[in-house]
């Protein structure tokens, strides 16, 4: 493949909060995103998967400069986005767009669908003729499967799925090169999820977008992704080519996530529950385990895991994994 369009290097975001009483102030830190590295090629889709609270949204926001990273670089087409000043970054936003997790909350309730979709146009092309804006807005609505004659309706007059279509239309109206979808379907009905995922997949092919698709569930990203990154407590556990990851996960956490995927067959579901190794809860984000961050929940833990941090290593096939035992574990999935 050619050169990547996006290269995220050692990106880290730490939140600091104050705790304790006035006399006993303590600073508590959450390393929401902790040294993430990956690259993304033009027209490629990267799925990012991890449990709730593992830092997926924070990563997405840091990539887009919506919150400042503590460390690391976001190289977009040769420029380091984290070093751009506010105006330069604003200009770059034409190329970088995001679809949010909550379709209703991400639309201003006091604006019409047309105003919402055309806001980026007004912002970047204030001199654009009214008629042209209108035409483009209706075109976008049609493209995402909304009836253009609903242009004057307000968000509360649309269903959740339709609201998400409005959000998608807004994110695509400027012809971006990169689209980050932060759990675009997790707030939607299961029956509508597939429609939205398919829509995004079609649009991605049609427009040649580089796409980052975030989900907390491996099954959602299965069809849309080329590669998948599995995150845990702000770190990447595994970054693998899709087919291989679903056939033979390299990391015990990926394996555990796969077992927690809902299985339609009740007998299999029972078996999966029995074998669901994801015991215990995620440790408090304030007290991150030493060594491998996953060690207190990992069924394959050895002594070494508690002391040494496993680096994200490149395997022979190009996939990457952060586990000491990646070579000697065989986590192949037996398809029933």
């Amino acid at each position: 493949m050619s050169k990547p369009v996006l290269r995220v290097q050692d990106l880290s975001v730490t939140f600091t909060s104050l705790a304790g009483s006035v006399f006993n102030r303590q600073e508590r830190q959450i390393r929401a995103v902790d040294g993430i590295n990956f690259e993304l090629f033009a027209g490629e889709t990267l799925g990012i998967v991890g449990e709730s609270g593992c830092g997926k949204s924070t990563l997405a926001r840091a990539i887009l400069g919506l919150l400042p990273p503590n460390r690391g670089r976001v190289m977009w087409m040769g420029d380091n986005l984290t070093e751009l000043d506010e105006e330069a970054m604003r200009q770059r936003r034409k190329e970088l767009q995001i679809v949010f997790q909550d379709p209703v909350a991400s639309l201003d309730p006091r604006m019409t669908a047309g105003d919402i979709i055309s806001e980026p146009l007004w912002t970047f092309y204030p001199k654009m003729a009214r008629l042209q804006v209108d035409e483009r807005t209706r075109g976008m609505m049609k493209m995402v499967g909304l009836l253009p004659n609903q242009i004057n309706r307000y968000p509360h007059e649309f269903s959740g799925g339709q609201c998400q279509r409005i959000g998608i239309a807004r994110s695509l109206v400027l012809n971006p090169r990169l689209l980050i979808c932060d759990e675009p379907v997790s707030a939607l009905d299961v029956s509508i999820q597939a429609q939205i995922v398919n829509l995004l997949q079609d649009l991605q092919k049609k427009l040649g977008l580089a796409l980052i698709f975030v989900a907390h569930d491996l099954s959602v990203v299965r069809h849309i992704s080329d590669r998948v990154m599995v995150m845990y407590m702000g770190q990447a556990m595994e970054v693998s080519e899709k087919e291989r990851l679903y056939r033979k996960p390299l990391h015990p956490y990926t394996n555990a996530l796969m077992k927690s995927v809902p299985v339609p067959d009740p007998k299999l579901a029972a078996a999966a529950r029995r074998e669901n190794w994801l015991t215990g809860d995620m440790p408090s984000p304030y007290r991150r385990p030493k060594g491998c961050v996953f060690h207190d929940r990992c069924p394959f833990k050895v002594k070494r895991c508690e002391a040494d941090v496993p680096p994200l290593r490149r395997m022979e096939n190009g996939d990457r994994v952060a586990c000491h035992r990646a070579e000697d574990l065989d986590l192949s999935v037996v398809e029933a």
Binding site: R61, L64, L66, R90, Q91, R93, K94, Q97, I98, F100, Q101, D102, A105, S106, L107, D108, P109, R110, T112, A113, E119, P120, T123, F124, K142, L147, P148, N149, Q150, I151, N152, R153, Y154, H156, E157, G167, R170, L174
Partner: protein, 310 residues
Amino acid sequence: MNDNVEKRRSERTVDDVFAQAMAEPDIRGRSLWVDAWHRLLRNRAAVVSGVLMILIVLAVVVGPMIAPWAGDFTDWDNTSSPPSLETGHWFGTDAVGRDILVRTLEGGRISLLVGLVATLVSLVIGVSYGAVAGYYGGMTDRIMMRVVDIIYALPFMFFVILLMVVFGRHIILIFVAIGAVNWLDMARIVRGQTLSLKNTEFIEAARACGVDHHSIILRHIVPNLLGVVIVYVTLTIPQVILVESFLSFIGLGVQEPMSSWGALVNNGAQDMESAPWTLVFPAVFLTVTLYCFNYIGDGMRDALDPKDRA
């Protein structure tokens, strides 16, 4: 084969739907404002209050212009005369023969004006103060809100009375004094709203679309604040009118020959036994107005309540 036919048919229907929709005129949206307005119109107490308020405002504005007497005209033939159609003094006269109706209407001008202007003062200070504190957050916010807390803890009445005593009784001073104290609540409310609005996804979405801070505040924050502010304003006006009445009642409000409902009630109370009408009419106007504003405010709060939307 069959599948294909099926598919083509369903495709056609989708296209048909679109074609049809393109041919039809645009559907009109119902904004949250329109929704709220319709809900308000279904609230009988608020509607009746609204109509009454319009009548009172009209009477207060137009009445003194078309009345045969001026407010300070003394009719020596009819001092302390009871309400009567014959004398032309429908609400009667006071001890020096001034027409109660005209005086009540003129007093209403002052009372309503104080209510509006002082509320406007608190609106301007409160909204800008609260929005700044909420939008910038952090240390700025903490300091600004501590200041509010401190002022809040001062005994307000004492403060107003002190101002009156030091600077003398002047109507402008009443506006400023009441407004300057009433903005505290407004600032708190606006700050809270701004704080929660700032973190909503649609504000972040606007930022992600390249919208600058200035436009975010104007296009997204202010319109979403408006509902709460309007409700609060409607509930502040009667509060201010009441405070002014109280000040006038204890003799610190507007000065003769100017009067307000509070001042008239004060005068009336002195002649309560010999000429009860001098007390009753201004008191009725005052009370009705206070009730009306409160009903309208409550109605608006119910109508604008986002919880109702679900």
